[in-house]
Amino acid sequence: MSRVDAAAGKGSLNTKDGVSRAVVAVLAWVLALGLLVAPVVLVFAEALRHGGAAALASFSDPDAWSAIRLTLVMTVLAVAINTAFGILAAWLVTKYRFSGRGVLLAMIELPLSISPVVAGLAWVLLFGLQGWFGPTLARWHVDIVFAPPGILLATLFVTFPYVTRTLTPLLEAQGAQAEEAASVLGAGMWSTLWRVTLPGAASALASGVLLTTARALGEFGAVSVVSGHIPGLTETMPLHIETLYNGYQSVAAFSMAALLALFAILIVALRGLAGGRRPIEDGLA
């Protein structure tokens, strides 16, 4: 028996079970093709409706480049910050026991349950001109909301949990023995983290980083609230797509959407390479 047969045979105690499994598989494929693949294909079809040249020409607009650049810079910054934070948070909550650990874990998950629009509004309430710190910041000529720093804050908020959430179950499962051994052998805290903990969790970490990247690239709601929608300055790719669509620039809108979809496909592929379907990551995001 090949490995595939063995895997398939494990649960199929009778043929009825096999039939229902086939039905479920077909259903899953139909749903995936209809709900996930078809819209992406349509995006590309709409972008190329007037030919590849027209689609490419839409990127010659400086506002389009500005949106792409802003999106990429915000994504790199958000991923860097949230990866650093995510590693530390996952490490703290799995390798140490301290008071308030449960609260910290719950807080890290908060952005998954709060509507992004509410998150954006919260930043406006804090840093907007009518908000708590807005008038003071205005006196110092510091722009937070309606400027890139606000977009970064909004992106950080919505992408906050992913690295921690992918790392925590794995680190939890690893236990603390390796770290304790390292400590006994004289390794400090940082070298234990770098040389012992992280190498064992590389693929989970990569997965978390890629999830963070995907969400940062595509975030609309929270960014929309703090952006001010200034083309060429504070519009990220998702916001620029909306602006183009509302301006009846359908080809340009779908071309930008296609580019964003390409980024997403790239991330999915990288995630597959990075170790893909570990059962431990199931149920995330």
């Binding site: 802003l70 810079v73 915000m74 910054l77 860097a80 910050i81 650093a84 934070f85 530390l88 703290l92 406006v124 840093f127 907007g128 001109l129 009518q130 908000g131 807005g134 205005a138 000529h141 510091v142 722009d143 937070i144 909301v145 309606f146 400027a147 890139p148 720093p149 977009i151 970064l152 804050l153 805290m189 001010g228 929608h229 200034i230 083309p231 060429g232 300055l233 504070t234 602006t243 669509y245 509302n246 301006g247 009846y248």
Partner: protein, 341 residues
């Protein structure tokens, strides 16, 4: 050591915010004066062209000085809210005077802003008309037809959209001018009208997209400029324009945001921009995009596309403050007649 981590985190965060802030600075190639025009929804095409014309005009008159105008578009109320919260608008060109009054009430510009420019600071006016499917299959000719049970009406949300408030006032004004009309009969008409509205979009362009691109509804109550754009430029003959017997003179005003231009050092350019809107060149651009020019000579040249129609204006409602309080404030007439369904 959590304290150490916290300090490093704060440092990293501060650096990242600083880096993000640097991105807001224009690169040397664009190191021109920037003007931000925060505008309402249907002016995208209008200001795209006016901005370019103004930049060329300003450079000609000021020894090549480059002024870069950027325009942000959205529902008028939402846009005003952004400016109130700190969006760095040098100029606001919003859907109705009330939204700019609100900025004045918070000290962003002088209370008498509307007296600073000709025609109540309204370089272009518009009115409210109907957009119907080609051939007008539901035979919609006047406001009375909108409450027929076989008609589905698309109009945006008056709470967030300036255009929607003009739509509301246009309908109310018609109802209040019918023989034997009273405030109660007008209110009954509005209730019947909004019972025909399946969903309220947040802005005028969103409502147009619902009608034009998503095929919702039998009639779109819309800015005349928005409707003409759909009929003549994007609709491919799929839509007809219907002008009702009477409508509202919709006046979307413009203003320089005093506090922001002082902070940005852009007062001269911002004032140059709003004055430019009254020049024959800009008035022609306005007419081309189906806004009614305040310059009568330009208006006469475009009377075939923008024929004179019977209108009443906001003063017949006692001005925007009174209209806002009566119709659109929390608990006002709109809240009383509208139940989402």
């Amino acid at each position: 050591m959590p304290v150490d981590i916290g300090r490093r985190g704060a440092l990293a965060g501060g650096l990242a915010l600083g880096a993000a802030g640097l991105l807001a600075r224009p690169t040397p190639a664009q190191a021109a004066t920037m003007l931000l025009n925060v505008s309402y929804d249907p002016t995208r095409e209008l200001y795209a062209e006016i901005d370019r014309a103004f930049m060329a005009d300003w450079a000609r008159a000021h020894g090549g000085e480059v002024v870069m105008v950027r325009t942000s578009n959205g529902g008028s109320g939402a846009q005003a809210r952004s400016v109130l919260d700190g969006a760095p608008a040098d100029v606001v060109t919003l859907g109705l005077g009330y939204d700019i009054d609100m900025l004045a009430a918070h000290g962003l510009l002088a209370h008498d802003w509307q007296l600073r420019l000709p025609h109540q600071s309204t370089p272009f006016s518009s009115t409210i008309v109907f957009l119907v499917r080609h051939g007008n299959p539901k035979k919609i000719h006047d406001w009375g037809d909108l409450i027929r049970s076989d008609v589905s009406v698309v109009t945006p949300n008056p709470k967030t959209s300036g255009g929607a408030r003009w739509n509301f006032l246009a309908a109310w004004g018609w109802a209040a001018r019918q023989p034997g009309a009273s405030a109660q009969s007008a209110q009954d008409y509005m209730k019947a009208l909004f019972a025909r509205v399946p969903v309220l979009d947040t802005g005028a362009r969103g409502a147009t997209n619902s009608f034009v691109q998503r095929g919702m509804g039998d009639v779109l109550v819309a800015w005349e400029d928005e409707a003409l754009l759909a009929v003549r430029d994007i609709g491919n003959g799929a839509f007809d324009l219907v002008r009702p017997s009477i409508s509202v003179l919709a006046e979307p005003p413009v203003a320089v945001v005093d506090r922001n231009v002082q902070a940005h050092g852009t007062q001269a350019q911002a004032e140059g921009f709003v004055r430019f809107l009254y020049t024959p060149a800009a008035q022609e651009i306005g007419a081309k995009h189906y806004f009614r020019p305040s310059d009568q000579a330009v208006a006469a040249r475009h009377a075939d596309v923008l024929p004179p129609i019977d209108t009443f204006d906001i003063s017949s409602f006692g001005g925007w403050s009174a209209a806002q309080a009566k119709f659109f404030a929390d608990g006002g007439v709109f809240d009383q007649i509208y139940t989402p369904h």
